[in-house]
Symmetry: C2
DNA sequence: CGGATCGTTGAGTTGTATCAAGACGGGTGG
DNA sequence: CCACCCGTCTTGATACAACTCAACGATCCG
């Protein structure tokens, strides 16, 4: 189930290269990061709240989500993570995890020891900056989700979430022409928006009825991108994408 | 209204020292940061969404908040900031601001050029780590606010928010015995929780009626700390405070 | 003293939750 | 290969949390 391999850092290298061109030394340091690849099943916790991890993981394939469970037992999803993301990069400087992260689909992930990352950051300030920036973009997404959960009604919030997912998937080549594989259940979407699954179902029907999307058999197609953006009050500014990777 | 002064970085130095003891070099580098102090009036934007700032600001005194305005014109407050915070530290690596920050009370802030911070970080990896950590704690607070807005009812969310404010104020010496100055209007609280001001008013009355708090003339007193924590489903883990600064 | 801001209250409305039940579909074991 | 099961999606009926609108009281400040 688990194997040691060098040079499984390509999703990370690609991401950093979209921010600045890597030097020889930077590239080879990244390529020689020790990384332990694992294949995980669906709906399986990767790390849990309260733990003190000694490594981060890089998603190579699949969907994961960060979440918390309230005292009343309801789940709130905090973010979805896709290929190229390092969902628990924060654990590099926050010793205790304040949320859990679980797979949604089966996933391939690569574990990288904190020690190796600290070593890398100590030597290359630009890589530190780039990794720091990654965590700052995550924070920007959290901010937008506060707005989504606090000030948008369910229909608008759903439209916004779908816009975000399409743009992010497009940025890593997992969506084309506003169409993508979206392996989320209505219950996952409900827990991301903080609404019930019943209401999620009705909201999706409304979006379909308005001719904005189709969503079946885990495939999302945006039929009317401008309409969906308007319905969701969506402005991709907060995703801080580099020019070029943005959606039309 | 604005003056140049050296050595106005003491709130920052105190904060970093709570994480690790500073070396001679680190301390003197921090003390010699160029900082431009300004006194600002209440309800005044410090930075605005869309701007590309070339400096960060450190709060020396007063309350500020980060916020966004939705397409429908409603405000969502994303976080409150108090003395010692650097609310737009993220602008060091994200060129465009994705939200605005405004004063609530009159404030004293110190502006620090990005250039000086980059220079400092390039020379001292531990300071980089500490500043990075600050932004990670902010992100952890955003995560908790997603839960607050998504999965808690207004009464519970209000209790949670008040718990957070008391603990954070206590950590910087601005609250004692679960009592503090809280210069927020009900409208501010409403915009933080994503509810209407009318409902905020009623929720506060419920908390008073339950004997959990008093709140008048801008002074919050928690009468029943355990009760408020329970009502708000509050666990301070996500604030990542150092042991010692935590509330009882 | 008048105006502005903030807090409070009541009445009616809307968005969303809950409960309950059935439909659909894919996988598994007999 | 069929029967069954389980997770997911869907629908209807009812209940509740929170919103809006409107008005009024309290304070503070110029």
């Amino acid at each position: 189930m688990t194997s040691f391999l060098a040079s499984h850092t390509s999703p990370l290298i690609r991401k950093l290269e979209s921010i600045f061109p890597l030097s020889e030394g930077e590239r080879s340091a990244l390529e020689s990061l020790p990384i332990q690849v694992a294949n995980l099943g669906p709906d399986q916790d990767i790390v849990r709240i309260g733990e003190r991890p000694s490594r981060c993981f890089l998603i190579q394939d699949g969907f994961t989500c960060s979440y918390k469970i309230t005292g009343e037992g309801t789940r709130q999803i905090l973010n979805f993570h896709i290929a190229g993301d390092i969902p628990d990069l924060q654990s590099l400087h926050l010793s205790v995890l304040d949320h859990s992260i679980s797979t949604i689909t089966p996933c391939t992930v690569g574990f990288i020891p904190h020690e190796a990352l600290h070593d890398l950051c100590g030597r290359y300030y630009r890589i530190t900056s780039a990794l720091w920036r990654e965590t700052l973009v995550d924070a920007a997404v959290f901010r937008e989700w506060i707005v989504n959960n606090g000030r948008r009604e369910a229909l608008s919030a759903m439209a916004h979430l779908l816009c975000e997912l399409v743009v992010r998937l497009q940025a890593v080549g997992l969506a084309q022409d506003h169409r993508c594989d979206l392996p989320l259940t209505q219950s996952d979407l409900a827990d991301a928006l903080g609404v019930s699954t019943v209401h999620t179902n009705r909201v999706l029907q409304d979006l379909r009825g308005a001719g904005l999307i189709t969503l079946k058999e885990r495939t999302l197609t945006v039929l009317d991108w401008e309409g969906l953006k308007t319905a969701g009050d969506f402005d991709p500014l907060y995703l801080h994408l580099e020019p070029g990777s943005e959606a039309a």
